[in-house]
């Protein structure tokens, strides 16, 4: 197979970027999308040209490092997979593929397809945890959690923090990301004592990072590689209201 790539190249945070065209040749359907990029980078390196920078690591869809728009869609054409789990058999031989970094004010471009997602870390730092120090906790089985609740909490906790929800949203809203953590901890008994402060602080931090508001288009759910449901956003809103009314 072969492809024409149009890749966003940007030298650093300050530089102006532009699309540059590359040819990807000798690609096989069994290659992953990132292996296709590896092959292009090998060719570039052989010619002494600067390789295309992109974030990636585990290549198993769990670390959340990779992520880019592929033909305008976060993580490409398939549902429920991260970029690294995409294989070239999902593309038509000879096609042109456009690669862009996440576009959001809160995710500045560092280089090429690599963006700065530290805003997500700062949101978690604002309260996405249960305040227990190491040691001095009760035996694990003294805190029973009904199985369906534990399962729902798990569904929320499956978020990999890749940023596709923000990238997919026309407002660059981080509501699904924030909701996933708030919802997980709101569902579990362990999260109750700090629930009010948690939701207020995390929302405040989200606003401070200049993520946009949610207008319920559900694009985030559609592009989430872990298929996290927007019902968690509903729970986030409820928790936020509850906190405000108290």
């Amino acid at each position: 197979m072969q492809f024409t790539l149009k890749v966003w190249r940007q030298h650093d945070r300050q530089a102006e970027g532009k699309f540059v065209e590359y040819k990807a040749t000798d690609i096989t359907p069994d290659m992953s999308f990132l292996e296709m990029l590896d092959a292009v980078n090998l060719d570039l390196a052989r010619n002494g040209e600067e390789t295309i920078a992109f974030d990636h690591d585990c290549r198993e869809g769990i670390c959340g490092s990779c992520g880019m728009y592929i033909n305008g869609r976060a993580h490409g054409p398939l549902r429920g997979v991260a970029t690294c789990q995409l294989y070239m058999r999902s593309f038509k031989d000879g096609n042109t593929i456009v690669l862009e970094p996440w576009r959001a004010k809160a995710f500045p471009v560092i280089k090429d397809l690599v963006v700065d997602r530290s805003a997500f870390d700062r949101i978690i730092q604002a309260g996405g945890y249960v305040s227990v120090d190491t040691g001095g906790v009760p035996d694990a089985n003294t805190i029973p959690v009904p199985k369906p609740i534990a399962e729902e909490a798990f569904d929320a906790a499956a978020c990999i923090g890749c940023g596709a929800c923000v990238a997919a949203c026309k407002n660059s809203s981080a509501m699904l990301f924030v909701a996933a953590k708030v919802s997980q901890l709101a569902l579990l008994p362990q999260g109750q004592p700090e629930q009010k402060a948690r939701v207020e602080r995390m929302i405040a931090q989200m606003d401070e990072e200049e993520f946009g508001g949610c207008s319920n288009t559900y694009a985030c759910e559609a592009e989430c590689p872990k298929e996290i449901s927007v019902s968690h956003i509903a729970r986030l809103n409820r928790e936020f209201l509850k906190a405000r009314l108290k």
Partner: protein
């Protein structure tokens, strides 16, 4: 140099308690005067940084990722062991201790393993309190499963994403300390040298991966939790960034390296498909609970597996090991698969694979039953291979997965450099020659939450720390040499990209120092690496600049270290004239092809001292004694 393991006196059940009482404490008001650097934010690093900050120490935490949550602990699937005996099936601290020592083929330190088994229950309590969404029973209590051939159900899990959920728990604990100001966190920083002043580890030099700046970090102690070195084989189940640079550079500064040849090959991985393959994907070995492994009896049988009748299939693990069957330990399952393929029974396009078949499980139960238990793994297999494993058997092949070797540490997890502590996969300590399933998460978190907080205090309370500034010559010289190396990479302007060399190194290592090793092959490795290294310094091409985000420079530094590490690995493998655990020397096997240990000659930890590039490393031995678990030939027949 004599290696003092500092194992406390007393019966094994009381060693840790006695030791904790004897350790000097740092006065609570004085803790804030100490500054600890923690490198790495996986399970071990994040839990250590958070726990130390909770105690009141100032902590600097660094990782080469953009966020602590990206560390490769996140990819662990199966679970985490703890002998809670919630299942009433006869588990105990003693049994976990016994299983781990035996599973490690009698090459681990008994006292360390016992302590690990002791703290493992606390880990589960801690994680549950953090809100880790473990699997639950209908009554709301925690569920357990049997894993990796254990005879009891002691594995706690969170679907197939246990590592992710435990890491997020530790990450969130770390985030809480970052928020409180007690941890200063630096993302995209790669440690490139250790600073040792007057024999004490006092800091590190790191490269800011975004700006290229070389930055000094000063501390009173340094904790490395930087993971294993499986990527020396290029293809492994490790993440692409996993590397040995932090521990290797500490090794060059004097920290001994323990048992480098103990590497683990995991039996249930998706086989290599093409020459461009960048990494291998592991599927949880829980698959072996219900899947049956087989190859066609006839060599080079190209028929569709579904067309091969039962009588013409060789369920070789069930045949050779009637009592353990498909659940034999990882090293045994891996080696037998290789053997079958070597004899021509391999399947699939490359003939380097065996079948893992769920037809019987589907027939015995239902497709839905299989989907509920293993659905995510079947989906993963489908994504990668495009094949439906509900309809035809999966193809699997072993892949490098974990490294039991690492920097040598004493009972306090301190290396041979005072003030340098090493946690998790980066140290050599608890798994001997083979790690059991669901034990890596246990060790990483045990080290970080429950061991280092005690032992580091003793070091701080009993040592002196002269004031230090970052213009100390040790820092400026290290920064200079690191920068010179980076510039040298860029200046060579050869023809071969970094990945090209790495792939070649990996192939040499996999072919000659992988699942089975022999003296001739290992000698070949030791001949070819210096040649490859020489070629590297002449012909590598590292495009781009040094003062900018440049992944090629990052890779170059790591591969340069892998050359040296590979040499040490092969040296260690050649010197250990026995087979044990993951280290299988073809010359040393029993008549039926099982590993033959040589307890008289090799019942020791091989700790190697660095002497310079191309120079012979010097071997130091820490003798091992087994007072509680008497060494026997592992038998899974």
């Amino acid at each position: 140099m004599t290696l003092d393991s500092k194992i406390p006196e007393g019966p094994i059940q009381q060693k840790w308690d006695n030791h904790r009482f004897n350790l000097k404490l740092v006065n609570p008001a004085n803790k804030r005067k100490y500054h600890i650097i923690v490198v790495g934010t996986g399970l071990a690093g994040a839990s250590a940084a958070a726990s130390l900050a909770e105690l009141g120490y100032h902590v600097t935490s660094l990782c080469y990722h953009e966020s602590p949550r990206r560390a490769h602990s996140i990819a662990a699937q199966g679970g985490i062991n703890a002998p809670k005996n919630y299942k009433n099936d006869g588990d105990s601290v003693w049994r976990l201790f016994y299983d781990t020592v035996k599973g490690g083929d009698y090459r681990a330190r008994e006292a360390n393993v016992y302590r690990l088994a002791q703290v493992s229950g606390n880990i589960i309590d801690q994680c549950a309190a953090q809100g880790v969404p473990f699997a639950r029973e209908y009554g709301g209590l925690l569920d357990n499963r049997s894993f990796g051939g254990a005879q009891v159900s002691r594995t706690f899990y969170a679907r197939g994403q246990t590592g992710q959920q435990l890491l997020l728990g530790a990450y969130q604990a770390l985030c809480r300390q970052i928020d409180s100001g007690k941890v200063k966190f630096y993302a995209r920083r790669e440690m490139l040298d250790l600073i040792v002043i007057d024999g004490q580890a006092r800091g590190i030099v790191a490269r800011n991966l975004e700006s290229g700046a070389i930055e000094p970090y000063i501390g009173d102690a340094v904790v490395l939790a930087t993971g294993g070195y499986g990527n020396v084989f290029f293809l492994s189940t490790n993440a692409k960034y996993c590397n040995a640079t932090a521990i290797w550079r500490a090794h060059k500064r004097g920290a001994l390296f323990g048992n480098p040849c103990f590497t683990q090959i995991h039996p249930t991985c998706i086989p290599v498909a093409s020459d461009y393959q960048s990494k291998l994907t592991l599927m949880s070995e829980s698959l072996r609970n219900d899947g049956r492994i087989w190859v066609p009896k006839k060599a080079r049988d190209k028929r569709d597996p579904r067309q091969i009748p039962d009588a013409e299939r060789d369920y070789y693990l069930e045949r050779m090991y009637p009592s353990f069957g498909n659940l034999v330990p990882r090293d045994v399952a891996s080696r037998r698969a290789k053997e079958m393929c070597d004899k021509g029974h391999g399947v699939g396009p490359t003939q380097l694979a065996v079948y893992l078949d769920f037809a019987e499980a589907i027939q015995r139960n239902t497709k839905e039953w299989v989907a509920e238990k293993y659905g995510n793994l079947f989906d993963m297999y489908h994504e990668i291979t495009g094949e439906n494993a509900y309809e035809a058997p999966m193809r699997i092949y072993p892949a490098v997965h974990y490294t039991m070797g690492g920097l040598w540490v004493d009972y306090n997890l301190m290396s041979t450099i005072p003030g340098l502590f090493v946690l998790g996969e980066a140290n050599f300590s608890d798994h001997g020659a083979n790690r059991l399933g669901a034990s890596a998460l246990m060790q990483g978190l045990g080290d970080g939450y429950f061991i280092i907080p005690y032992t580091i205090g003793n070091y701080l309370a009993t040592s002196k720390f002269p004031p230090l500034k970052s213009d100390h010559p040790a820092f400026t010289e290290a920064a200079k040499s690191v920068l010179e190396q980076t510039r040298r990479f860029v200046s060579i302007k050869g023809k071969r990209p970094v990945d090209d060399f790495h792939r070649q190194l990996g192939k040499i290592m996999w072919d000659l120092c992988g699942m089975a090793r022999n003296a001739d092959g290992l000698k070949k490795v030791l001949q070819s690496i210096p040649q490859l290294r020489e070629e590297w310094w002449k012909d590598v091409v590292v495009p781009g600049s040094v003062d900018n985000f440049n992944p090629e420079i990052e890779k170059a530094g790591r591969v340069a270290d892998f050359f040296d590490l590979a040499e040490l690995l092969a040296t260690d493998a050649l010197h250990r004239e026995e087979s044990c655990g993951g280290h299988f020397r073809e010359e040393y096997q029993t008549e039926d092809g099982e590993a033959r240990r040589n307890d008289d000659k090799f019942m020791y930890v091989a700790a190697w001292e660095y002497k310079g590039v191309g120079e012979k490393s010097v071997l130091h031995k820490e003798p091992l004694s087994f007072e509680y678990v008497k060494p026997s030939q592992r038998s899974y027949k």
